[in-house]
Symmetry: D2
Subunit: 387 residues, 4 copies
């Protein structure tokens, strides 16, 4: 590419958390510029947000349909390359389908859609159009998560036997949805969030991480979903026993009422020869454990021969200069941009750039929600994982 | 008391791990002296072990029955005060019953017996004789575990909603029982260990800790026990979903094939207002978490007003002088000795000394094994916790 | 501002570490766009770097003088707002002076100049021109460093008694400057780096952090500089005893031969009532210690009432979403951009934006180098800190 | 030996901290029994303490001279094997000399004596009598400290270049000696404690640890001792620049006014190839750092081939069962007892048992205090380390 990619954004007005995150992630590496937005369904917020972001007034839109139509009509040299969708869950599908139908590549916040059915339709549309879609499962963007996946894939630990993944948060310990917390309100509202609260919001991240690093797929599960704060409409806590397709056992735990916890996603995987441990709150460290020798502390950016090219590709700074959540998010955008840029300019992106989540992960995630909810409602212990 | 208590020991010869631990724990505070032993069923080891421990040759026995009979016949001023039983699980019940029948107080390594039925009989015998029995659930002897229990009991965290307890070890990652590891051999042999391997050996510790700190009781559970090393006869891994009697949800995880882990028992408990986290491998720290203010690092021996008298009673050194597993074990013995000494000398022990595990905890632990195994074999999700 | 600020860059071609860091930091928040560059003294690298960064070919320059002259001649609506200088130390002063003389604001990598004299001249020029200069002492950009400074300033810990700051790195453990490491080569060359190696490169960061958080100034010092790798031309290790202007004692340690260390900058400050501890490699945590109550774990982005507005202003994400070195660096640029933007648009920036390092800190840093080197060569214990 | 060693104790009544610690350490391994004591200069406390410890009333003494004389007159089969001295610093020398003169081996709390001269006389007496003396520099009893020393001695890290040792405590942040704290009172009183407060009390531990692990000796130093709490009579804080006999540089820091710190002794040593880090508050972990591969976490009791026989000899439990301060202290007693027992019974102790501190370390420690105080009072930067 000899130019930055042009991004439009649906949702993400100045009152929204995740939109700002997407913009930082997209800005970081100088490969992308925000050119248009339908940033809010509130016209005043939409305009104010566009101004705040220095958008050309003619490209500040009040609704996504107008934006997609208008942008599709622009000449190639100024037309958007892709559209990022950061609305609440229930409002992902329609703009994503319309964007694809109008020739725009898509970035979409997770969970991919409101239902599994929508996810499948979206996947079919991506395949039909040949366009590129990035699903922002942020945590797979961390260098040490890449490292972990590559080590497991290389057989470093032998056959994987056990996967433990946990995701405690505490921010829903009170009935915040009734106290004016907008983020809490839609996340706990089944009409906006979907069948599941905690499992949909963060359980899907944990599930995605477990399958991504282990390279395995869940085959059956046994779920216990709980509403631990009285008056809440969706699960705010849960645990799931897992069986993987190679016979490994697993446990997935997620809670949004673990009072005092911030965002403590953590995964441990054990094989015949050793294991690994990674915690999102100290993301530059990967503990590598061995049966017969000392645990090793792998560090991001360290540059040693023990690090995979996937780790190196996704680290911007030398060891000891901590990278964090925004860089992990930025890696998703960077890999998406490198892939898309190469496609547009008919060049070759490095193989490491192709490793980002898309509809495949989106379908698995939506199926996870479905299966977990079904299991939770069942008296039978094991529920097969159906897609 | 104006003298040390006199201890006898059954099992724990010089080739055994846990016997040596019991002796250090008993020695530590100068309240107890080892006076007699039937230390091994191998006569040579029994004798050599007795010599190594400087026992009077006349009090080195070759079998426990002889010891109990002979010691019971000794005059009061030299008769044993209590007998410690550190044989494998299957050989706990008979000597314990005989000791009680002969008027000896008892210390017994966990799990208390081979079966729930035996545990109930033993409990009845303790009540009938009025003697004192200590069950060495070591982990409840740590000062910060005491502190945690007291904080929960005081309502510090409001109603408890969630209990997560985990116990990963890696030492059975290979089929060590076939490679000459004696400890592995009996622990994985259903004839010597009982119905369960991992859950019996370490799951019971996790269960005991969860009920001890939370002050709650499990009402139903859903267990998944696994044999992850081919050729093994008993579970070496498992996870259990829990429901407590106040409605709290819980998860208990234990594994002996978590390659690279040592003895990583850890518990987290969350209530409406905050939570706590304690890890056995850094036992002098208790993390106290809050909804609306910074996490606090409680430290053992620190002496601050925030620490319970139960913590202080069980700490020997000022903050920053780490105490460990042996001191926790020693606290069990010390509290048992203070209680027993007061009984013998007709004085009053401090109330904190009464807090040590006995047959009540033993019955809960054996029931846990029974219920977990039953649940594991069932296709129904929830199994009521029966005692 | 209703537009992004326009940045030019001197140095920082595609083979340079710190230039890329500056660009990410400048890009991150969407307030700045790179518009011109004299990116290398090697014309091929200068061109290739400009192309890689999608610069307009007419604004890719082969030397800084041409760039400054040409950009100064551009019309206001496209003229650069500021110029970032990321050349080696010896090449900071001349472009900085010329930029200021031509009306450009300046961002400059530390140490500010090659000598204290230059630093004073630059400071005078900044004052004379009324322009804004940012000196990128990155570590003061971290939210928890801001928090620490505000707590000390508020008297939270009473009078400060002790300051311990340390900065171990291991990357110069070998004679890398003779093995083709370009970064090592100029940093260990007195002609390019200045009077001091380790103390100039990282000791100045430690010194700046100590004075920034404590709010104190060093009054005298006793330095021991060492060359621990044979054949090196400048110090690669050192320690400095400090006395501050309020009577507090301090120790500053820095080493680039601490084999196995990455970038382990850490500071501890103690007052009458408590203290604090911050480590750059886990930058989102600030330990707050008290005489009579438990240590508290302050966390960045946590949003609690205990956090200063300076912390909040400099955090982009909620607690548990780790921010790192690039965000800290980005905070310097963001605060500089907010300040400069407000000046240009005649509006008011938030007070927190004014808190970024400039020539004042640059002069202190250069004086630190001078005084440390002087002390190191002296047989007298204490050397007064002269500026 | 076919019996326990018989110990007497001078000082250490029931109101004293360190006496109780010595007794636990001596009891722990069942090799030693307390048989006599002159436990306090207060007769009531002496008697009550003896009773509390179940001493034979005939062996509870009211002053040390009577005890030594009386015990020396007892028949060999009941005579004490050694005498432990746990009085304040100024009262070490006289009883130690008298004990040796009467044929008793000696255990002595550090610092060994009140002055360097006394230390030399005591050393001469030990050599003259051929008796055995243990100086309880506790921290060298930790398994991972043994491991560290052995690794350095084996050349694992190449030539040692840098030694950083620090010992922050906070317990003297207030003028506690005027508020009824007896331990604070004598430690800050030059008549009872000696020339130095903080450096004598804890600086000597840090110094001992640095020389023990590095295998090096300090050749010159530059000290800054401070009284940071107004009204105190002896230093409560200090830092010392060090030069070792192989050219390595070092820094020793100690403070008793680091508010909020407990007992945070920590050492880091770096050589050409790597380094190590050990912190007393997490004593079962030794971080082993490398130039070109990941940091390794060595763990006590782990049993791996990477662990030295000195580590294994000094660990009682398998990995993950934390041992602490009392076990480290117990190792001093155990090694002393094994050595003394072998001498008495004319057998051979394992070579690892010979590794305990004695008058050699005592002399170095007293010289450290002398040299540090002399340097602190000097305007010349470097003071040669004289013994």
């Amino acid at each position: 590419m000899n130019r930055k990619l042009r991004m439009g954004m649906i949702g993400g007005g100045k009152d929204a958390f995740i939109g700002a995150i997407h913009r930082i992630a997209a800005n970081m590496d100088g490969l992308i510029e925000l050119k248009a937005g339908a940033l809010s369904i509130n016209p005043d917020i939409a305009k104010a947000s566009g101004d705040m972001l220095f958008l050309d007034p003619s490209r500040i839109y009040l609704d996504f349909k107008t934006m997609i139509t208008a942008e599709a009509a622009r000449p190639a040299e100024e037309r958007l390359d892709f559209i990022t969708i950061v609305t609440p869950n229930f409002a992902h599908f329609e703009p994503a389908m319309m964007a694809l139908d109008n020739g725009f590549n898509v970035v979409i916040e997770k969970p991919i859609t409101f239902s599994l059915e929508e996810a499948k339709l979206l996947d079919a549309k991506v395949k039909e159009t040949g366009l590129t879609l990035l699903l922002t499962h942020t945590y797979t963007g961390y260098p040490m998560v890449k490292q972990a996946r590559q080590m497991v894939a290389a057989g470093t630990f032998g056959k994987i036997r056990k996967v433990w993944v946990e995701y405690p948060q505490g921010w829903l310990s009170k009935l915040s949805e009734r106290e004016g917390n907008a983020g809490a309100a839609w996340r706990t509202d089944p009409k906006k969030s979907g069948k599941s609260g905690c499992m949909g919001d963060i359980g899907t991240h944990a599930f995605n991480l477990a399958e991504y690093i282990s390279g395995l797929q869940v085959e059956k599960l046994c779920a216990d979903l709980n509403i631990l704060v009285e008056g809440r409409m969706l699960d705010d806590d849960g645990a799931v026993l897992l069986k993987f397709n190679n016979g490994a056992a697993g446990v997935l735990q997620a809670s949004q009422v673990a009072a005092g916890e911030e965002n403590a996603l953590k995964i441990r995987i054990y094989g015949e020869l050793g294991g690994l441990e990674w915690a999102q709150q100290e993301p530059n460290t990967l503990l590598v454990k061995w049966l017969d020798k000392p645990t090793e502390i792998y560090r991001a950016g360290n540059g040693g021969a023990h690090l995979s090219s996937y780790e190196t590709h996704n680290a911007r700074t030398p060891g000891g200069h901590p990278e964090g959540y925004l860089e992990a998010f930025g890696n998703l955008y960077r890999n998406f941009a490198l892939t898309l840029g190469a496609k547009i300019s008919n060049t070759q992106a490095p193989k490491e750039a192709a490793d980002f989540p898309t509809t495949t992960e989106g379908i698995r995630g939506m199926a996870f929600i479905d299966n977990v909810v079904r299991s939770s409602q069942s008296d039978v212990k094991w529920t097969p994982f159906e897609v």
